[in-house]
């Protein structure tokens, strides 16, 4: 197991290297006139200011030196400073990342509590009306854009009952109830999109497992159907669903950007959008990089959990 973890970590190095190149190169694609534009948005700008901005972005050095300086900075936990706020990007990330993480985690809980039972039900009652409804629902959920659903939730309760969702963020440890009353709605919307895929996967895996010999054996020895499902089918059928959660992490983060904007959740997505509109490139590249690394780590964790849960997979 230890050797496996080390091998996996080593395999991450080329991916991380190429990923860092992608982030780096995309930031170098910033056209020169953007700097002018940044200066123009600011008050009185001179050519000295221009040199300052170029220095802040590190544009006055040769490419490869820029790259190694940038990577060296990241190794020391330095992602540069925000161009407008003059605060370190890492500080801004430390503030916003936990909020997005909480949103994602809540969404995951919502997705699993909705998807797994319905998926199991759908598989047990294959090709009945219930199965059909569940599958159509999941396909529909897959197709409704979360930003439209978010818009409907904002507009219609307000029009019909003069109620609109709370939009004021309270830190969880300050007032958990206040916090949840704000975060729950975006989490549900985010979770619904995820639940569609999870439901399909759960159904497929359960159908697959129910055809296995050991299920027939369990039934043949007279085990109650509930126990067959709980003890034999679920434990084997749900393992691949965990992998799916890893694969869905990018979707979750992408969705979070949109829902954070609608529900004014001050997470990483909102920070990214503000940075994009302010052309705050160090912040953008910082978020870009952190997201990539986070997803890599989630996938690694998922793979390791997989080995832990499935005794057939031993490294």
């Amino acid at each position: 197991m230890q050797a496996y973890i080390i091998r996996r970590l080593l395999a991450l190095i080329p991916t991380l290297f190429v990923a860092s190149l992608i982030v780096f190169v995309s930031m170098r694609l910033i056209p020169g006139d953007v700097i002018d534009q940044m200066l123009a948005q600011n008050d009185v700008a001179t050519s000295a200011d221009r040199a300052l901005v170029e220095e802040a972005l590190g544009l006055d050095q040769p490419m490869y030196i820029q790259y190694f300086r940038w990577v060296g900075g990241i190794m020391r936990g330095d992602l540069g400073n925000s161009l407008w706020h003059n605060t370190p990007v890492t500080a801004q990330l430390a503030e916003t990342l936990p909020i997005t993480f909480q949103l994602g985690l809540l969404a995951l809980v919502v997705a699993l509590t909705v998807a797994v039972p319905i998926g199991i039900y759908s598989a047990m009652r294959q090709d009945t009306a219930g199965d059909y409804i569940a599958r159509s629902f999941s396909l529909l959920m897959l197709s409704i854009p979360s930003f439209w659903l978010g818009t409907l939730v904002m507009v219609f309760p307000s029009v019909w009952w003069r109620w609109s969702p709370p939009l004021e963020y309270t830190p969880f440890f300050q007032d958990p109830i206040q916090n949840l009353s704000h975060m729950l709605l975006p989490a549900v919307l985010l979770g619904l999109a995820l639940s569609a895929v999870t439901m399909r996967m759960t159904r497929t895996m359960m159908l697959e497992v129910m055809r296995q010999d050991y299920i027939r054996t369990a039934r043949a020895k007279g085990l109650a159907e509930n126990l067959v499902i709980a003890r034999h089918a679920l434990r084997n059928g749900l393992i691949p669903v965990i992998t799916l959660i890893g694969l869905q992490a990018p979707l979750l983060i992408g969705g979070a950007v949109i829902l954070e904007q609608i529900f004014v959740v001050p997470g990483m997505g909102l920070l990214l959008l503000e940075a994009v509109f302010a052309r705050d490139y160090p912040v953008i590249s910082g978020i870009f990089l952190v997201t990539g690394v986070a997803i890599l780590m989630i996938n690694l964790l998922v793979d390791l959990t997989y080995g832990f849960l499935d005794p057939k997979v031993r490294y």
């Binding site: 694609l29 197709s143 994009v276």
Partner: protein, 305 residues
């Protein structure tokens, strides 16, 4: 030499060279779709209706998309404005129709570009193998760890927003991601007997790629293209919603749900309905049509997404 009917490969109509045979196999396929996958056929029909609306939006739209009429602001749906009007008195039906045109353009152009990129990368990586494969796959690995929407937002923040940029970025984005699926198909076809036969006869690599490999990965490619059309439409709408898509006053479905329109939705809730319903219907139709296509064309991909 016929390269059909080998066990374990993908049989029938699609195994012929790309350019030939558009007429009757397609009709036969539609029949099969209708018989075996009625839901998928419904999806196909819905999509074709939207495609039709998009193609003939200029003729179908009763008003010009950006024709303002302050006397008729925020009107509820009526006979003269079937879907009502917005805060500038623009006819919502016309805007939704032109929006369909924009969506279809983005969807087809981006998916087309993505397909070409996927085919080129997938063929190179899968057929040549070795170091080329290694190098391409590491880039694909790294590329795929970034969420689509995030990549889009970042790139658009650099190159600016507009139809050409979005099409190119989406095309590259989905193209690189999809190349892995094409590669998988190529890996299988590469080891078939007809490919080995062609190789041993000394056929040039390009000839083999074009006449043997490509026709046999076509089912994968077609399914990929279909699903990417939906994904691109959704992504563009998301970007426009965030104010990073095709800039206003272009009537994009995503844009109509955000920006100025948003503030007036509380007075005119119908503004929130039509663009979202259209978007959902298009994506829904592509999803079920794509699922059906996958089941019919490529049994190996069944159940995957």
């Amino acid at each position: 030499m016929t390269d059909t009917a080998l066990p374990g490969t993908i049989p029938t109509a699609t195994t012929r060279p790309l350019i030939a045979g558009a007429d009757h196999p397609i009709v036969a396929f539609c029949g099969r779709l209708l018989r075996e996958k009625p839901l998928g056929a419904i999806g196909g029909v819905i999509f074709v209706v939207f495609l039709f609306c998009g193609l003939f939006a200029d003729v179908l739209a009763p008003y010009a998309a950006n024709e303002t009429n302050m006397a008729a602001r925020l009107q509820a749906p009526s006979l003269s404005h079937w879907l009502g009007t917005d805060h500038l008195g623009r006819d919502l039906l016309s805007r939704v129709l032109i929006g369909a045109q924009l969506s279809m353009m983005v969807g087809f152009l981006a998916a087309g570009l993505a397909t070409v990129v996927s085919i080129v990368l997938g063929l190179l990586s899968g057929y040549l193998g070795g170091k080329v494969d290694m190098a391409i796959q590491r880039v694909v690995d790294a590329w795929m760890i970034f969420p689509d929407l995030l990549l889009l937002i970042v790139v658009v923040s650099i190159v600016g927003s507009g139809m050409p940029q979005i099409v190119i970025v989406l095309g590259l984005l989905y193209g690189i991601g999809g190349s892995r699926i094409v590669r998988g198909g190529v890996l299988t076809v590469r080891e078939t007997m007809y490919t080995h036969a062609a190789q041993s006869m000394g056929a040039r690599t390009l000839y083999i790629l074009w006449y043997h490999i490509l026709p046999n990965v076509m089912p994968v490619v077609i399914v990929l293209f279909t699903t990417r059309v939906g994904a691109a439409i959704l992504a563009e709408a998301g970007l426009s919603f965030l104010g990073l898509g095709v800039p206003p006053p272009a009537p994009t479905w995503g844009g109509m749900l955000s920006g100025d329109g948003r503030t007036y939705m509380y007075m005119a809730p119908w503004l929130a309905i039509a663009p979202g319903v259209c978007l959902t219907l298009v994506v829904f139709s592509v999803n079920i049509f794509g699922d059906a296509l996958r089941d019919l064309l490529d049994p190996r991909m069944r159940g995957s997404r």
